[in-house]
Amino acid sequence: MLTWIADFVTYGLFHLTPATRLASALHFFVYDSLKVLLMLAVIVYVVSVIRSFFPPERARRLLSGRALIAGHVLAALLGIVTPFCSCSAVPLFIGFIESGVPLGVTFSFLISSPMVNEVALIMLWGLFGWRIALLYITTGVSVAIVAGVVIGRLKLEHLVEEYVYQIKAEAASAEVFEQTWRDRHVYALDYTKDILRKVWLYVVAGIAIGGFIHGYAPEDFLVRYAGPQNPFAVPLAVLIGVPLYSNAAGTIPIVQALMEKGLPIGTTLAFMMAVTALSLPEMIILRRVLKPKLIGIFVGIMALTITFVGYLFNWVL
């Protein structure tokens, strides 16, 4: 049915001649926009119902006092399913530290939460198959664990703003009414609308760029500059990705276009992780609890780990 709509728009509405470049680009654009937005709506809804069972307060309870590798692994996994908007980052950080979650474990959680996004995971699955999706989740979780362990080992507790240690929060006393299924449904529906409103432009713009590359860019254009032959492609992708920010779901169409044009998987994943995990707005928010040096160390460790992962996958696959 989506093909039918794409056919109708391309040949019926705009009267384009089939098999021309313009027609091919427009057809790709319409078909993919509809497909991705539809998938997104369904997935976000299902995921938000699941997420309503995993508030960050529960993550905090589970993680307090855990320093060993198990703590990092658990933090990285909880980061995937636990929802929190970036404006909650500060209370979240303080709440974790204050209730005895070690600094490194807190970072594992803070890294994995935006980077390993279950929406992106399921979209990757739908568009590229389970192999790439599995690759994405394992690398994301690994980066979160490794970076968190390194930060924990460096003993950087003195680089957290002092006032953080002085806040005494109540133990989660919140006696909350249990949500009914209807509440969860209403919440999920609202959240889905909210996300769609926020990312549809990214998604459509991403697909438009993808469609353009699809129809116009020569097959070997990207490969010549960023292909396996260029040893600096991975760090370059990370450098370009760091200042850019997009929701993980918004990067998928661009990833799709890049891979279609022969960019190696490691380089593409490195780019995607740099875009989603490191962002200027998040740094500014975290500045309220972290001294600049710790933010610098955090960005440095992330960039290095992501670059390493990029090389690893280019080399393995």
């Binding site: 929190f84 404006c87 500060v90 509440d183």
Partner: protein
């Protein structure tokens, strides 16, 4: 009735406040709606995800914006209690 919106002023907190005010009007309940924006103040309620909703000093929800019906239910329940 005193309702507090816990949050640093992010868009979700603003949205929650607007929703609360609207529901109060529909239900016909008079309440004082306050905003708690400082971090220690927010954290003293034991939540780590915003926006939080506190009715008569009891945390009723956090980390999400309750839907219209849920808000109405929470407000009515608090009215019967007090």
């Amino acid at each position: 009735m005193v309702i507090k919106i816990l949050g640093t002023g992010c868009p979700n907190c603003v949205r929650l406040k607007r929703a609360v005010v609207q529901v109060l009007e529909e239900v016909g309940v008079r309440a004082e709606v306050l905003e708690v924006k400082d971090i220690p103040g927010i954290m003293s309620y034991g939540i780590v995800s915003t926006p939080g909703l506190v009715i008569n000093e009891r945390v009723r929800s956090y980390g999400r914006i309750p839907g219209h019906d849920e808000l109405a239910r929470l407000i009515r329940a608090a009215m019967i209690e007090s």
